[in-house]
């Protein structure tokens, strides 16, 4: 996919106060998001969070209730999908079942009235690039391909006319685990070469962390936080984001001075200086399981009783009942050290630069 496709550089995409209502339900609620040219951005959220609806509005398949969409310099809010100059990869791949692989890939070029010769050259080159040799695959029908091959055809078909924005709707959903890993790496290298703007919808936090430059975590039609993967994982701004991206221990704390917070057992942690704290709000201390270390009781900040241990191969997950609550700890399995239920263990974690998350008000 280099040669002809080598020159692509993505467009800027801007969503401004985008809202979509179905009757009284707000599927997307006042979403604004600026996507830089060449950025790989994920819309990440559970099902029903509005991520797919937002993508459908970007593609032009859903009308907006209010708000505007710009692609590049153009306001495309009212432009029909076929004139938006986007590429899209669907969860089901949406290959045309009555067309061969060759016809599927060449279809967008035919629509653009290219010469037969140029179409042929482009399609063959593109097929070679994604390891589908034209000799073998050109005349196959989609149903004669494996899942991974179908995915690659869908990708090439969406890219061959050099759109500046690629929209992807859970494109890995239907693949098994190994294939998924492989295609993720391929997608990363592709984006690195072409500098496309990619908007990638997924409910899988691992995919979003691995692939994106930034991810927007969505919930109930709204964006909770937009940030790069590391910031989302290490400095989530809401309880929801903290829980959605990996496992989280959330310990209630009381503010004792401007930057100091007291744990239930009286110990004090200092918050990271870049977190601004609202005194009227309750906070939770975020401890990722891998940030807590199991240690000798003498060196421990906390002691606790092991509630359960689960062997996961590359690690052991231990739930420890401590004075500040049940903490989940992930430890490396170690031949010399065994963890048993009801054993008393020491735990420690860094008390500086603690990450605090506002406690969510819950109904009832």
């Amino acid at each position: 996919m280099s040669a002809h496709l080598g020159s692509i550089t993505g467009s800027r995409v801007q969503m401004r106060n985008l809202t979509k209502e179905y009757g009284i339900v707000r599927a997307v609620d006042n979403v604004s998001l600026d996507i830089e040219p060449g950025e790989f951005i994920s819309l990440l959220g559970p099902s029903g969070s509005g991520k797919t609806t937002a993508l459908m509005m970007l593609a032009g398949f859903e009308r907006t209730t209010s708000g505007t969409i710009h692609i590049g310099e153009q306001d495309v809010t009212l432009v029909p999908p076929f004139a938006r100059g986007i590429g899209m990869v669907f969860q089901s791949y949406a290959l045309f079942p009555h067309m061969s692989v060759y016809d599927n890939i060449s279809y967008p070029l035919k629509l653009r009235r290219m010469s037969k010769l140029e179409i042929d050259e482009r399609v063959r080159r593109a097929m070679d690039m994604v390891k589908l040799p034209p000799d073998k695959f050109a005349n196959r029908l989609p149903q004669q391909l494996s899942g991974g091959q179908r995915q690659r055809v869908a990708l090439v078909r969406a890219l061959i006319y050099e759109p500046h924005v690629l929209l992807m709707d859970e494109p890995m959903g239907a693949l098994d685990k190994n294939l998924r890993e492989e295609l993720k790496l391929e997608l990363l290298s592709l984006q690195e070469r072409l500098r496309l703007t990619i908007v990638y919808v997924t409910h899988d936090q691992g995919e979003a962390l691995m692939l994106s430059n930034r991810a927007a975590v969505m919930r109930d039609g709204r964006i909770e936080q937009v940030a790069n993967p590391e910031a989302l994982y290490r400095r989530p701004q809401t309880e929801f984001v903290a829980n959605f991206l990996g496992e989280a221990n959330l310990v209630p704390v009381e503010q004792s001075s401007e930057r100091e917070f007291t744990l239930p057992d009286g110990q004090v942690v200092r918050s990271s200086p870049d977190i601004s704290v609202d005194p009227s709000q309750s906070y939770l201390l975020l401890l990722r399981p891998e940030e807590i270390e199991v240690c000798a009781e003498a060196e421990a900040m906390l002691r606790g009783r092991i509630q359960s241990t689960v062997y996961l191969g590359s690690s052991i997950r231990i739930d420890v009942d401590t004075p500040i609550g049940v903490l989940t700890v992930v430890a490396k399995p170690n031949q010399s050290r065994r963890f048993e239920r009801n054993q008393i263990v020491g735990l420690r974690f860094a008390t500086g630069d603690a990450v605090l998350v506002p406690k969510e008000a819950r109904a009832g």
């Binding site: 398949f61 999908p81 076929f82 969860q91 290959l95 279809y107 629509l111 078909r157």
Partner: protein, 269 residues
């Protein structure tokens, strides 16, 4: 699991008996068509092709065949368009009132044919169209629409609905999307629907009796009248030809369905 060979034998015998019962009458007709007798009687004396000859060379039978083909083609054409459009409308758009379209499209399947006969007769008598091919084709269209609708709908339910979105995203406008994707991706089902519509028209008796008037009847109506008057084995020969046509069309349908089903597998998972 654990049943003896005897139980299994009895089971197969039962299946065979029921099967024979279901297609028995059809076999009897085929048998009768080779009779040497002058009148229809069972069991017949065999074997002769004479009734097929009568059918082939009698101008009145030939005229019935021509009329059946003419009316059938017209009705098939109309029913295929109306049924397919209704199926796409209910399966792929968000128009309100889909359920109402569905009810109207299926209604003729449930309405007793005798009512269509009564209603159609009253209407066309007023319009002076009793005996007209157009009038007959219009009534046969009504009978064919539900079949086209049901067959195309069920194919659409199995086809990936995002292929049309994909075509739009690739740059095809609505018309090209319909022409290049919607129709060809469901062509086997649309043809299957058309074949059924034709068969319905080609076999219909009740409505046709009233609407064909004094002109030459269609093939099945001619068989029907012949049976009522003099029961000659030529009707068995004609019926056998009808059965063969039905079987050929159904083999075609089986082939088309396998085709459409294989296409449906192109969807991920």
């Amino acid at each position: 699991m654990g049943e003896t060979a005897n139980i299994r034998r009895i089971r197969y015998l039962l299946i065979a008996l029921v099967a024979l019962y279901l297609i028995g009458p059809t076999l009897v007709v085929i048998w009768l068509s080779f009779s040497t007798d002058e009148v229809l009687r069972f069991p017949p004396h065999l074997f002769s092709w004479r009734w097929y000859e009568v059918f082939l060379f009698d101008e009145r039978w030939n005229e019935a065949v021509r009329r059946s083909l003419l009316v059938g083609s017209l009705a098939t054409f109309l029913a295929t368009i109306i049924g397919s459009v209704a199926a796409f409308g209910t399966a792929r758009t968000r128009l309100p009132g889909k359920q109402i379209v569905e009810i109207f499209a299926i209604a003729p399947l449930v309405v007793p044919p005798i009512i269509l006969a009564t209603g159609g007769y009253s209407l066309f008598a007023k319009l002076d169209m009793i005996g007209s091919n157009i009038g007959l084709a219009i009534m046969h269209t009504v009978l064919g629409v539900p079949y086209v609708y049901l067959i195309v709908s069920s194919a659409l339910a199995r086809t990936d609905p995002s292929i049309e979105l994909a075509a739009l995203s690739l740059g095809a406008n609505r018309w090209r999307t319909i022409r290049d994707v919607s129709i060809p991706a469901n062509l086997p089902a649309i043809i299957t629907g058309a074949l059924f519509a034709f068969l319905i028209s080609f076999d219909e008796v009740v409505v046709t009796v009233f609407l064909s008037g004094s002109l030459a009847p269609t093939l099945p109506v001619r068989v029907f009248s012949s049976l009522s008057l003099a029961v000659s084995p030529v009707v068995a020969a004609v019926s056998t030809v009808q059965i063969i046509i039905a079987i050929v069309l159904m083999c075609l349908v089986g082939f088309l369905q396998r085709w459409q089903r294989r296409w449906a597998e192109a969807v991920a998972h």
